[in-house]
Amino acid sequence: MKIIGILIMALAVLIAVVPIFYNCQHDGKALTLANGMKVPMKCFWTAMAAIATAVPLFGIGLLQMFSRQKETRRALGALGGVLGVMAIALPTVLIGACMHPDASCNLVMKPALIFMGILTLGLGVASMALPQKLAGQPA
């Protein structure tokens, strides 16, 4: 389980960090309201929500490293999979990103979150399905 745990923790870090550096707010762009106030665009809120997804995912990865029981591993895998789905849903259906296809949130943040979400989901499924021995645990 160590390898899967480490990979999940690494993905959690990336899910938290990548959107911070690739959203329009970071590029100095913001929405100007009618009253002249500047507010962040929705890609910024996607980035914030990604952090909220990444923190529990990191914890799951840490627990995976030390879990020995098959049932614990499966439960953690399922939870990890759900958070992977969240990472995919954030920039697509839940909050979203900007309209302009060349904005950094569309070029990097959105595809990165989807990609890492799919990897996380895959690792979650793998930790539920793999035999103990291939998962690095004695049978």
């Binding site: 296809p101 060349d102 070029l107 990097v108 595809p111 990609f115 799919i118 990897l119 021995k133």
Partner: protein, 397 residues
């Protein structure tokens, strides 16, 4: 206990060996697919762009070749001017069937009077245009009217609005062209009449006026007669018209083609190194695993397993790891290229279009075949040696 079941048990029994070979196959397959997709994607993109242009020869002001190519390929706006009288001269050049002028314009950068920043805008003469107009007639059943535009695949009306603003002028998007993976996807097409109307209106509506020099055009697209050779006609145009460059479409995008062949060489070198390293590493891992299992294999032989059984069993392990790792590598690679295709275009500066499904299936099969060949080739020698070893020798300390 069938061969397959025993093979799967053996794979599970040596996690380190299995994961190592799996990852090598994943990397080899993923890299092969990525490189092939990027190169083929760029090539098919260029082909589509040329098809979209529809011209046998592109005539541009001398010195403006590179920036016009960049504009067409990457959508980076370019302006270039030559006398409009060239159109008439070209039309009478022997071998020329049609000569259609175009104006190359650009929207302002970060201006509220323009919906899109720094967008490449191409104005056409509907009287003799053969690039967009036939498509318009087929798709929309009519030509473009004043104030109407056609966009490349990635041009859209801003959400919540009814018009695209260009220098404060309101334009109606009538339709979008099929994607080409090039800058033509981010280009807006309108008529000369609309362009002049925008320029006139920009004096009062825009932050900065749009200036179209009088009696000037940016480029002339030429179709030659069926019996004429485009290269010869291009040469004649250069001789007859001063201050212009006549580029046969076959020679268009030469800069990018040279860049692509440079990229191709680098990719082939990288793939070659990766493949050699993977083969070496897998051979080493299999050699170590075979040595570790020497005694076990000796026991199998003693129990009645012929040499061929041992050989097939070990190669089956290699094949399963290759197909598993290769399959995952291909999926990840395809997913990454699909998700990051726009970033690829922007960061590598090359056009890119995902291939059609049949073409993709072919490439994926190729990638899987490469992974399978790599792993089984690497495992062949250690597997052959261990299966031929005398059982008594294999079982010795």
């Amino acid at each position: 206990m069938t061969l397959v079941r025993l093979t799967l048990r053996n794979l599970a029994g040596n996690a380190f060996r299995s994961w190592t070979v799996f990852l090598c196959a994943l990397v080899v397959a993923g890299l092969t697919l990525s490189a092939t997709l990027i190169l083929r994607g760029a090539e098919s993109s260029l082909r589509l762009a040329l098809k979209r242009l529809g011209a046998d020869i592109v005539v541009v002001p001398q010195g403006a070749e590179a920036k016009v190519e960049t504009a067409l390929l990457m959508g980076t706006p370019a302006t270039a001017w030559m006398p409009a009288g060239n159109v008439g001269k070209l039309a009478t050049t022997p071998g020329v069937a049609v000569a259609s002028p175009q104006l190359y314009l650009a929207s302002l950068s970060n201006a509220s009077c323009c919906s899109a920043s720094e967008m490449f805008v191409v104005a056409l003469d509907p009287a003799n245009d053969f690039t967009i107009t036939p498509w318009l007639k087929q798709r929309l059943g009519s030509d473009l009217r004043l104030g109407e535009v056609v966009g490349g695949a990635r041009v859209f009306t801003p959400p919540g609005e009814r018009y695209i603003k260009l220098y404060g002028y309101h334009l109606t998007l009538k339709g979008n062209l099929e994607p080409t993976g090039t800058g033509l996807d981010q280009t807006m097409f309108l008529t000369f009449e609309t362009a002049q109307a925008v320029a006139k209106g920009s004096k009062t509506l825009a932050e900065k006026p749009l200036t179209i020099p009088a009696d000037s055009v940016s480029a002339i697209l030429v179709n030659v007669r069926p019996e004429a050779d485009p290269r010869l006609v291009a040469r004649r145009i250069k001789q007859d018209l001063a201050g212009v460059s006549a580029i046969p479409s076959l020679d268009l995008f030469q800069t990018f083609r040279r860049q692509m062949s440079g990229v191709l060489r680098a990719v082939i070198a990288l793939m070659g190194i990766t493949w050699a390293l993977a083969v070496g590493f897998i051979a080493l891992v299999f050699s170590m695993a075979a040595n570790e299992r020497r005694r076990e294999i000796g026991v199998l032989r003693a129990l009645g397993a012929p040499r061929t059984y041992v050989f097939q069993s070990l190669l089956a392990e290699a094949a399963i790891l290759a197909l598993g790792g290769g399959g995952v590598g291909l999926c990840l690679s395809l997913l990454a290229i699909y998700l990051f295709r726009n970033l690829l275009v922007v960061s590598l500066g090359i056009p890119f279009l995902l291939p059609s499904v049949p073409s993709l299936l072919l490439v994926v099969s190729g990638g899987l075949a490469v992974a399978l060949t790599t792993v089984t080739l690497a495992a062949l020698i250690p597997v052959y040696r261990i299966s031929c070893q005398e059982p008594a020798l294999a079982m010795r300390e």
